[in-house]
Symmetry: C2
Subunit: 366 residues, 2 copies
Amino acid sequence: MTGPMTDARRYLELDGPFHMMHGSLPAVTLAYETWGELSAARDNAVLLFTGLSPSAHAASSPRDPSTGWWEDMVGPDKPIDTDRFFVVCVNSLGSCFGSTGPASVNPETGEPYRLDFPVLCLEDIAHAGQAVLEALGVERLYAVVGASMGGMTALAFAMLYPSTATGLLSISSACRSLPFSIAIRSLQREMIRSDPAWLGGRYAPEAPPAQGMRLARKLGMISYRSAVEWAARFGRERATDDLGDHEPFGIDFEVESYLAAHAAKFVGSFDANCYLYLSRAMDLFDACDHGGSLEAGLGRVQAERALVIGVETDFLFPLQQQEELAEGLRASVGEVNFKALPSVQGHDSFLVDMDRFRPAVAQFFR
Amino acid sequence: MTGPMTDARRYLELDGPFHMMHGSLPAVTLAYETWGELSAARDNAVLLFTGLSPSAHAASSPRDPSTGWWEDMVGPDKPIDTDRFFVVCVNSLGSCFGSTGPASVNPETGEPYRLDFPVLCLEDIAHAGQAVLEALGVERLYAVVGASMGGMTALAFAMLYPSTATGLLSISSACRSLPFSIAIRSLQREMIRSDPAWLGGRYAPEAPPAQGMRLARKLGMISYRSAVEWAARFGRERATDDLGDHEPFGIDFEVESYLAAHAAKFVGSFDANCYLYLSRAMDLFDACDHGGSLEAGLGRVQAERALVIGVETDFLFPLQQQEELAEGLRASVGEVNFKALPSVQGHDSFLVDMDRFRPAVAQFFR
C-alpha cells in the first residue's frame, strides 16, 4: 500500500453549515498537515497559522519531502522540535491550497463561490483551526503560533479559545492594522480589481488577472522588505546599460528584475479572489472588537506564557505594534516576553533571517 | 491693453536643436514665472526647481492670484522674500504645464512626441533652467533651490554650473535614488503602462489611462506621507459600516477615501507619458555620473553656502541621504548646514508642515 507520496495534506470535511462572522458556508473542507506525535498526555500540540499566502506545508516530512515555507523552524531538532511537539498547520479558510475558499465550488450551485463567498474574517480562520484540533482530539495547546496575518489569527484564536491556548507566540503581527498598512493592501486589491481580466471576480482559472496579481505582488515585496536591505543588496546595479532600445519604461535596475522574478513566481500560484478576501480580512481584524476595547480584547487571552517578536526594520507591522501587543497581554498572561530583532529584511525577516529567528523561537519551546 | 490676467507664465522659445543627455529636440518652449525684481547688481536671483508634478506657479502674484504650490514660502515678507529676491520658477522640461514634454507637438511631425521624446534626465531640466536664466540676464544666483526631484535637479544644476550657483538649498532630496525608491517609482510606471488605455503611449488627450494614473497617485501618496501621521489622522475610522453591499472590495476605511480623493484630483491634471519620463529621470539621476564618484561629483559644486534639510519620517528620501549629501558637499562648499526636522508628514512635509519649514528656509535667506 505504499507508493510515491508527494502530498502530506490531510483533509477535514465539515458537513452542515459552517457559521462565519458574516454569513455561513454549506460545507467546509480544511487542509492541514501534521508533524510529530500527540503525546499520551495530549499536552504537546502546537497550532501554526500561516501568513496570507503560504499553504499548510510548513516543513518537509517523509510523506512530502519538498521544502516547506518554514523549513528551518519546524522539524526534528529544529526550534519547533517535532520530536517533542505535535505540530499542526492549517491552510487558512479562504485560501486556495486545499481549504474551502472563494475558488472552491459551492455545492449548492456547482459553481465556484467567487464573490459569493461571505466576507472573511480572521476569526473565521481561527474557528476553522479549532475544528481541526477537535478532529485531532487536541483540547489544549502548548502554543498557538503565527507570523504576520498568522500572528493576528493566533491572537484571534487565543481570544476566542482562551482555555485551549496555553501559550501564544506572535511574530511581526499586530492587534489591528494601521491605516498605512490598510492603504497598501487596499491598493493591492485595487490593482487586481483594475485588471480587465478580473471580470468582477468571474475569471476562469486558466485566465486569471495576471497583471493585477503581478502588480499586487510587487507592492507586497516592497512592503515586506526594507530600504536598508535593498541598498546593501542591489545598490544602483543596472540590469541593462541600454536606456533606449528595450521595452519602453521596462527594467533598468537590478531591483526591478528582482521584483519581476518574485511576481512571476506568485502569479498563477495564488488565486486572485482568495487574495482579495484574505487581504481584506487583515484590514478588518481588530482585537478591540472582542469586548469593546484593546484592554478588554487582549484581557480575554488567558495563556500562561506569551512571546511577542518584532523586527526593527518592519514598516508594515512596525515594532510599536509588537510593543502594544506585548504590553496589552501583560494584564492577563502569566509571563510575557517581548523581543525586538535588528534584522534588516523588514517584515519578511521571519522567513529569511533564520540565524536571528531560530534562537528567538527556540527559547520559547525549550 | 490690460484685461483679466489669469496666467502669470512667461515663455522662452528656443529655436534650433536643444541637446539632451540622450538625444535632442528640434525646438523647446520653457514656461516659467518670476516674482520680484532683478537688482541692479544682478545678485539677488533665486532659481526654483519643482518636484515631479507642480507647475511653475509656485506662488500667487497680481498677474495670477491663484494659490501657488509653495504659497507660504514665496512672496513679500515670506521666507523667500520677493521684496528682496528675484525668484524664477521653471516648469520642468518634460512636464506638461507649458514647457516642452512628451505631450507637446513635435514640429517635425505635427504629432505629439509621446514615446519619441528622448530619454529625459534631470541634467536636461537643469540645462533648460540655465537657458531661462540666460534669457533673463542672470549670471549668478543667490541660490538654486529645490525639494524632492527639484532638489536633485538643483544639485545637478550646481554641478553643471558651479560658478552660477552661489548658494544651494536642497530639501528632502538625494545624490541618487535608493533601490527602494526606484522600486516604488518603477511600480507606479508599470501601473500606468498596464492600463489598457495607455495604448503604448498613444492615448488621446481626452482618453488618458485614468485608472493607471489613479493607482500610481495612490502609491505616490503612500510613499509621500507617513504611517505615524495617518495613525493619528485616520486611525481605524470607517468610511462605511456596511461590509457587504457596497462595491466589492471597495472602500471600508477613511484612509481609503482620502487616497481616492487625492487620486481623483490628480487624474486628468497630469499627462501620463510626462509622468513616466519625469519619474524615470529621478531613478536615472546619479551625482556619481559627474566625475566617476560621489566625491568627484559633489566636488564640482562650488557654492559658498549650502543648506540641506531632511525630515525624520521621510522614507522615500530618508534622512541618511540628506546627511550623505551634506557631508559630501563639505569638501568643496564654504559653509554647509544640515537640518533634520521632526515633521510627521514624511516626504511631503515641505508642502504641509510650514510651521517647521518656514523658519528653516528663512534662515538661509536672511
